[in-house]
Structures are given as structure tokens and as C-alpha cells.
Symmetry: C2
Subunit: 426 residues, 2 copies
Amino acid sequence: MAIFANDPTRTSWLDVPADSDFPIQNIPFGVFLTRDDIITIGTRIGDTAIDLGAMHQLGYFSNIPLTDDIFLQDSLNDFISDGKNTWRAVRNRIAEVFDNANPELRDNPEHRSIILFDLDEIEMQLPVHIGDYTDFYSSREHATNVGSMFRDPENALMPNWLHLPVGYHGRSSTIIPSGTPIRRPNGQTIAQGADRPVFGPSRRVDFELEMAFITTDANSMGEPIPIEEAEDYIFGLVLFNDWSARDIQKWEYVPLGPFLAKSFASSISPWIVTLEALEPFRTSSPAQEPQPLPYLRQPGPGSFDINLEVDLIPEEGDPTTISRSNFKYMYWTMAQQLAHHTSNGCKVNSGDMMGSGTISGPTPDSYGSMLELAWGGKRPLELPGGGTRTFIEDGDTVVLKGYSKKDGLRIGFGEVRTRLLPAISL
Amino acid sequence: MAIFANDPTRTSWLDVPADSDFPIQNIPFGVFLTRDDIITIGTRIGDTAIDLGAMHQLGYFSNIPLTDDIFLQDSLNDFISDGKNTWRAVRNRIAEVFDNANPELRDNPEHRSIILFDLDEIEMQLPVHIGDYTDFYSSREHATNVGSMFRDPENALMPNWLHLPVGYHGRSSTIIPSGTPIRRPNGQTIAQGADRPVFGPSRRVDFELEMAFITTDANSMGEPIPIEEAEDYIFGLVLFNDWSARDIQKWEYVPLGPFLAKSFASSISPWIVTLEALEPFRTSSPAQEPQPLPYLRQPGPGSFDINLEVDLIPEEGDPTTISRSNFKYMYWTMAQQLAHHTSNGCKVNSGDMMGSGTISGPTPDSYGSMLELAWGGKRPLELPGGGTRTFIEDGDTVVLKGYSKKDGLRIGFGEVRTRLLPAISL
């Protein structure tokens, strides 16, 4: 079905720089503080932020059944709860208003001055209130690499891995938007061969290159979501940096999984790009052998061709791209993850977030973590400006970027940028 | 410091049956729907529910700085955010109003008709909106029993277990109050020796006898809570049944921990008993050897003497008490759990819930799960009315109860009661 907002031939009367992640075909959703310190839901075209709360008050959405305050909120949860048809209607209407040929707002300077903001006038917030956050572990290359280093290269993949999308529950309270600095965590670690742990700053702080999807209310408790319907409950995606402390993780994770090694911080990009905007970039995921059980059989192509990049910026130095990967490498699809997650009747709510797991590609320059890029510290990365890295150092900034591109159309996510500050002293 | 509300000599003008869990010294907090379908925050004395929203509107809390709508909410989160001094002031004031000698409400029939409800007129709700839920694994006996069955009897406790309170993040969206029935989950399991899993109803549904504590806003992201202050951020406790599907768990839990084996349902008792009300029952936890690292050293007695009991009620049969345990058996204290949880800077919010882990005592009749009571199916429990149980069967109801008793004072939790319904058909 053709979606008006996705028509690649259309342009906007707003300026869109070449190679912008945010042409009029994107129309992502986010939450920001305006120059007047008002919180609102908005979208973005080019480098212009658009206040949807103001647009709605000025009548631009009068043909769509929306509550008066649907965009005057500090999270997208209620809007996401309105469901897929509403998301589409709102995206289509935004595409219409900002279309090059449409004068309604273009030629109304008073309304423009209320609705439009330069990016430097606004402050992006967390786009959703995340009730529950789950992280999957769905890159075969990543699971194999980590299994080789943490356990046994001969049996790197656990016996369950090819049969189900392994996942675990994560901590919602420390998910932060791009731009928020984080602290190196303290924690328990144990030296090789030591018989007692010590407590202090982690020495193996790592990023994880992930994407995450945001859901809408999907089911009643006790009821599964069939895989054929799963994508209807996915609002959109963000870039996701699942910060990890490898030394804490290695000591704490048996037998109940990662805990404090992850819960100190997780960063997301602030604009949620809708699944609908990504439709032109749909592609197949890797062939699955053995064939999954029927409740996990993916109906048609279930992945998306999204180029991903990790930049490392030392405190005094230039950015270096240390990894280039792609979302399409993931073995398990989002629909499989959501169908599996609800197969036991687990309730999924609006604003829940599900991380993909680290997105490692097949080659060493496409690995999605320092653990893999520098192979557990054994192959330090050389930085072009001098110096090396095995893990992330104090003062380093990590930037994840992502975009899809095809036939001249580019739909991107912007970035998630996070600086690591030193541990607090004890 | 003496707390007025805890004075054991005082009695109420409300009827309190002998052996009630809710004398005037308890004053727990909960949320309920009244006969008029209004949601309110309340407390309970004997078998009378007390509408704190109505009491506040009628001026009974006018000497305490509270917002007008603090009790007219569908969760206790905001009240809990007000902090320890407010909790104490409100409990003391309730103790005063319902004291035998106080006529202000006792002799005001109009106010009594607005404020007081019989238990069968109200419907208890979840008392808090749980942002994040963590489950610990802090009973040495339980960890040893499970480690023996799931892994290796010779090395049942993992090397980290005596050094830190092992825990993992759980699913908030499926935490339900007492009385809500649950469904047997479907999921992937693998038969002994099989090379492929199957999908279908779990055949090893189990309860876990736990308690859980509810926190208030405790810290800023990045900052730890010192163990000496940890209890200041604990509002109170509930009984907690951490429903588990052992066959799903065994297959899915490596390497990232339990996921769908737990997230189908978790049940809590609806009245939060404050830590302050439990003060008379404070006791020491088991000696810890090796001594924990300094950030985990418990300052003084950190446990509570709370008798626990598990009743099993077959669909057509009488209740049988299948386990008697005690909260004081836990190796790690709540303060240690909270200090550890925040040692990496993880932010804790009002309404977060932290489960103790299964509370197994030293003897087989004090084990806190069917897995242990029937030793992985090898020692079926005989039910007095006939029949046996290795795990929970469709139609069974599991009831957890808990109370403290000393010098004639009994402070209890009531119960958490949950019936298991058959799996939905696929």
C-alpha cells in the first residue's frame, strides 16, 4: 500500500541540506523543550524542529481524531497508544503541510514563528516513558565472538541460540537521551587467578552498537502476539548504545545474567523513526537454519537495510570511525523478538523498548563493541591521531549514527552521542 | 527512637479480631476501589478499610504538609516520594485518630460512613506503579538447592555468590495484585536428550515464596546509596510470588538469565507494610563469611523475623500448608541489596520493587518452591486429601502468608492468593 508521506518525489518548502537524515519522507517523532521552556512533541525536517503541539492548537490536525493535548505531553506514550492508523494519518498530514506546493503554513509567517524552531533553540528529551526495557542478543556474529571470549570458542553459541531470540530484562531508569554524559561505574571485579574480588572503577567500559524498537500496547496479559501481526505494534526505531562494563559483567553474570554491568547507563537517539518511514529499505534477514518453530516463522522479509557507524572522539582529538555495520546482519527479526517475548503471555505496553543486541557484522571492522574490535584487549585499536584503545577511556565520546539510503532517498536517525566522565571517587 | 504508631499498648475503637495481621500498630498502605468505584489510597485496621483520600478531604491530616490530592491517586508513588518523615507523620496521625480514646472520628457517624468500608465493599489494586523491578537471589539455601539441581551439586554456589547479592532485572508489566488469576504459560522447552525444542504449555509451573521491598526516590543517576542510608529509602514490604516455569527457564536462561520463564506473571500482596511497623521484629541475618567488601558491610541487624507460609489449594480440595519459612533466613539484607544495586550509579525511583529471591530455610519443609520441595520432581509431595504434586497444576491456588509476632504484638501482611488457569490453546 502506498503511503503518501513516503512518496520519494516530494520536497519540502523547508530547507533540507544535502545528505540530511531528515527529508520530508522521514517525519520522525520526538519530545523537546522549546525556547520558552515548554515541553512538546515534535518532528523534524532538515534542521528545523516542528512543534506538533502548537500545530495542533492552531488547527492543522483538525481532520484527525486526536485529543486536544495529545502532543502537549512529556512523552509520546499516549500518541503511540493511539495506534498505527493514527500514526499514519499524522505523518501524512505533516507531509502535506510541509510539501513544497502547500501554502497553508508556508505563507503564514505568524504561525511559522510559533511552530518552527532552529535545532539550537530546543533541547531534546527522552521521547518515551519506558515502562519495561528488554535487550535481545540477536547478532550471530556478536554472540559467537562474545561466547568465544567469555566461554569456549568451540561452543561459542549456546544450544538455545539458534532456536529462540535470547533476551533479558534490562533497567529502564537509566536510559538517557543523546547528549547526556555518563560516569564510569564502580563495581566488583576479580583479577584473573585471584580468590577475592575488589571494588572500584570498571576498567573495561564498552559501548554496544544497537538499535531498539518502541512498541505500542500490544496485548492483554496472558495473550501472545502472532508473528504475522507483530510489526503492527512496532512504532519505530532509535539508535541505542547499551553501555557495558565488561569486567563487572564477567564476574556478576552467572547464573542470572548481566545486572550492574549494564544498568549504569543506556543511551538512545532522540528521534523515533517510524517503521513506516523505513519501509522502502525492508530486506531479508540471514537464512535461518534450523528452521524456527512455527510461532517464530518470519512471514516475508523482516529486516531493514540500515547503515550503522561508530565514531570515537578522544578528549583531545578528532573523530575516528571505528566500526561500520548494518542492522540487516541481525539473525532474528524484530517481529520474531516480539512474538517470542509475548509467547508466554507477557504484556507489552506503549513505550516499551526492545534492544536488538549488539549489531556485529561478519568482518572485524564491522564489530559492534570494543570487546570485539580489540578482541578482549588483545588487539588494541590504533587511533589515527595517535594512541590506542582497548576499551573506552575517561573523556572519550562515543557517537552512533545510522541511515538508510536507496535510489537517492536517505532516511536517517541522526546520532546518539555520549561522553564518558571519570568514576566518582569513593 | 520511639514511634507513636508502634506503641504496643494502644488499641483502636475499630474492631480487631484476635490474631489479625492488622492491629492499630500495623497501618499498612494500599490502593483500592471503593463501593462508588472511586480509586483511593487507604489503610486497614482489623477488617475495616480506611479511605485516606476521604480523611484528608475531611481535614484529618490538616497538620501535615500534604498536597490536596496526595491520597486521591491510583498509586502510592507520589506519597512514597514525600519521604520517610511524611510516612511517619501520616502513620502517627492515623494511629491517633483510630486510638480507642480519641472521639474525633469515632463519634462522628457521618464521617465514619464516608471514610470506613467493609473489606467486601472494596477491590484492592496494585499499590504502586512499578517503574523497575529487580529480583535478587539471596537465600543461600535456595541458591544451593537450585545450583545442585540445575548444575553441579559439588559447586552449587557460583564463585560470586558469597561476595555480592546476585540479582537480575525483571518484568514490571506483569506484576499483579493478589486475587488475579494467571495462565499457565506456553514456551519453548527441550526434553532430556532431545536435539530440538518444542513449543507448548510449560509442564513445570512453580511458585517462589519471596518478599519484596518498595523504594522511594533514592539517588541521582551516577550516585551510589551508602549502605548506612539504604533503609531510609525503603518504604515497606509485600509478599511476593515470583511465578516460574522451570522447564522454560532451564532451556532459555543461558547465558543471559531468566526471561520468559518469569515474565508471564508475578503476584504481590496488596498492603505495603512499612519498614517502620516491622521495627520491633528486627533481627540479625546469618553470619557472612567471607566478610563482604566495605560497601556491603551491614551496620547492625538488618533482617526481620517474619514467619512465612505457603498454602496449596487444589481445585477441589482443602488448603494444605506445604512450606513454613522465615524472612530472617536470607543471607543478604535489603540494605545490602540496595547498596549493591546503586553501587554502579543505577538510579532508583519511587515505586521500584526489589524481590528477595526465594526464601528457603534450612530444612526440607521450609523450602520456598515446588522445585525444591519435590526436588525437581523426584520426591512428589503427598497431599493430605489424596493426590500428589511435583509442580503446580491447573486449577490449583497458591497462597503466601506472612506475619511477625512478639510479646503479644502481631504485624502481618495478609496474603497473596493466585489461581493457575490452564494455558490458552494454540
